[in-house]
Symmetry: C2
Subunit: 306 residues, 2 copies
């Protein structure tokens, strides 16, 4: 899978960073893209990437602040003209996201040429799609703000053609049964599928957080995750500013990474108080402070394999 | 005065053009900026210009299509942080603009730190501010779409200090009276102010059009204008496409320029069917076809003195 950051700034766009948008490419599990948040100018950023709007079939909104949603109307209307026609789209987000989209489309006299399904979360969500499981829990940001835990499907191991040939089974449709079941019958004999394929591969677990102060639900979302994507709005000085604005301090985020045994953190939603070179300096200091943790501040258009 | 184009594309943003936004700098008449339309990404474009959002004190919306308004919420919320605090803003536009702004700010849990006055137009508008007169008339775009005629104030001629000295009046507050009145009394004698200052200077007249097919009200808006800013969505081939989409064909626009004795036209709202080099080719052909007319296709960030 691949994650691409289209907007890594907090609150206001700057010359260096657009406001929040993250694209998760589900390949090889599925030929689709999931978008997390859509700050203003997200469709403009996507113009400079190979992703086509028509391939986005889910949009998850963490919370309703403008820097996370003001790009949604434009992206939805442009999707009608960029490969989205008749391609269903699901929009998941806090209660209010449906009304926001519908009133904006109505105000702008716009109609979409594809069906949209809204899933509005009040407290938590457990959603399944194409083998993926998405859980969402409310965080602590003063307004409903959700974190999403995306678990990719577990895939069966690679078929061992040689060993199947030894029992007389040539490549063909029967291989699909071996791949997808625990046992199979061949020439009136029952076999254990696991004897004819590699280890099952557990899909990656990714936790993408909306803005938040430290809270209990973060632990559930981040538990043993392969990747955390977390806001890093306050990354130096004392934590009072973070607390007063319902955000996390960087130490909270790195503590979460450690406490949940997660593999790495990509730090996002960076305040325009810091320019790119400020971040490099602070990053070096933090790496000294936390030598055993794997984390990185992201920039617009950064892409990572998961 | 100066006009700057922040978005010159129609409907969707492209790599070459953002969607609609025009800034009118009222200097020397007033130390403020008026914005006409605010497509998505307008605040991003302004980041790359010297204009500060706090100096924008009027926003005129031609019509409610997304490519003209989706950048408004982000611009308004960012204005709170970019010099707009406590600085009043007037938003003028079709009925529905107030509801759109208010529902979007409410949905995004955002509050502005400055007062906003809304003026919603049903049919036409006659508005006066700091010596400027703004008239708006409904056009023909299938939805309420307005054109704005902006008339800058007439300014009195330059004071002739030498001639005033000849009658014994030294530079001082009295000069202001000479400047602003038709006559004045000095040493018990009545004088005609015009004898002591240059010719009055009539302020420029600018007509900025929303999307439209040709219609009667265009003539009122464009009459003897110093500058027309008009959509040029359909600039080649026959006019059936333009008609069916309630737009003008380029021949209509150039005919309007000629028929109203306007000085020049800046052609805007260009379809993404044409890239920049297509436009250069078509422009050359049109110049041959209309050798006596002064017109130009604009690009993002083009700025013109008026």
């Amino acid at each position: 899978m691949e994650i691409t950051f289209f907007g890594t700034g907090a609150a206001l766009p700057t010359k260096e960073r657009n406001t929040q948008a993250i694209a998760l490419n589900l390949d090889p599990y599925s030929n689709s893209i999931w978008l997390f948040d859509a700050g203003e100018g997200t469709q403009h950023q996507i113009l400079h990437h190979s992703i086509k709007l028509g391939k986005i079939n889910h949009i998850f909104i963490t919370h309703m602040h403008g820097d996370h949603i003001y790009g949604l109307p434009g992206l939805l209307t442009s999707r009608s003209f960029q490969g989205g026609e008749n391609k269903p789209l699901t929009i998941v987000g806090p209660r209010g996201i449906k009304n926001y989209v519908e009133t904006t489309l109505q105000a702008s006299l716009s109609r979409l040429n594809y069906p949209v399904t809204f899933i509005e979360i009040d407290d938590q969500l457990h959603y399944h799609h194409e083998g993926f499981t998405v859980s969402a829990y409310n965080l602590n940001h003063g307004v409903p703000s959700f974190g999403y835990r995306i678990e990719a499907p577990t895939t069966s191991g690679k078929i061992d053609v040689a060993s199947l040939r030894e029992i007389g089974m040539e490549p063909g449709p029967k291989y699909q049964e071996v791949k997808n079941s625990d046992s199979f019958i061949f020439n009136d004999k029952v076999y254990q599928s696991s004897d004819f394929k590699g280890e099952e591969k557990v899909g990656p677990k990714i936790a993408i957080f909306g803005d938040t102060m430290p809270c209990e639900n973060e632990l559930k979302l981040a538990d043993n995750a392969d990747l955390l994507v977390h806001e890093a709005t306050y990354i130096d000085g004392d934590r009072s500013l973070a607390d007063s604005h319902h955000h996390s301090h960087i130490n909270d985020v790195l503590h979460l990474l450690e406490a949940t045994n997660s593999k790495q953190a990509l730090l996002n939603h960076i305040s325009n108080r810091y320019n790119l070179s400020d971040i490099d300096v602070i990053y070096a200091e933090l790496q000294n402070q936390y030598p055993n943790l794997k984390f990185k501040f992201v920039r617009d258009f950064d892409t990572f394999e998961i």
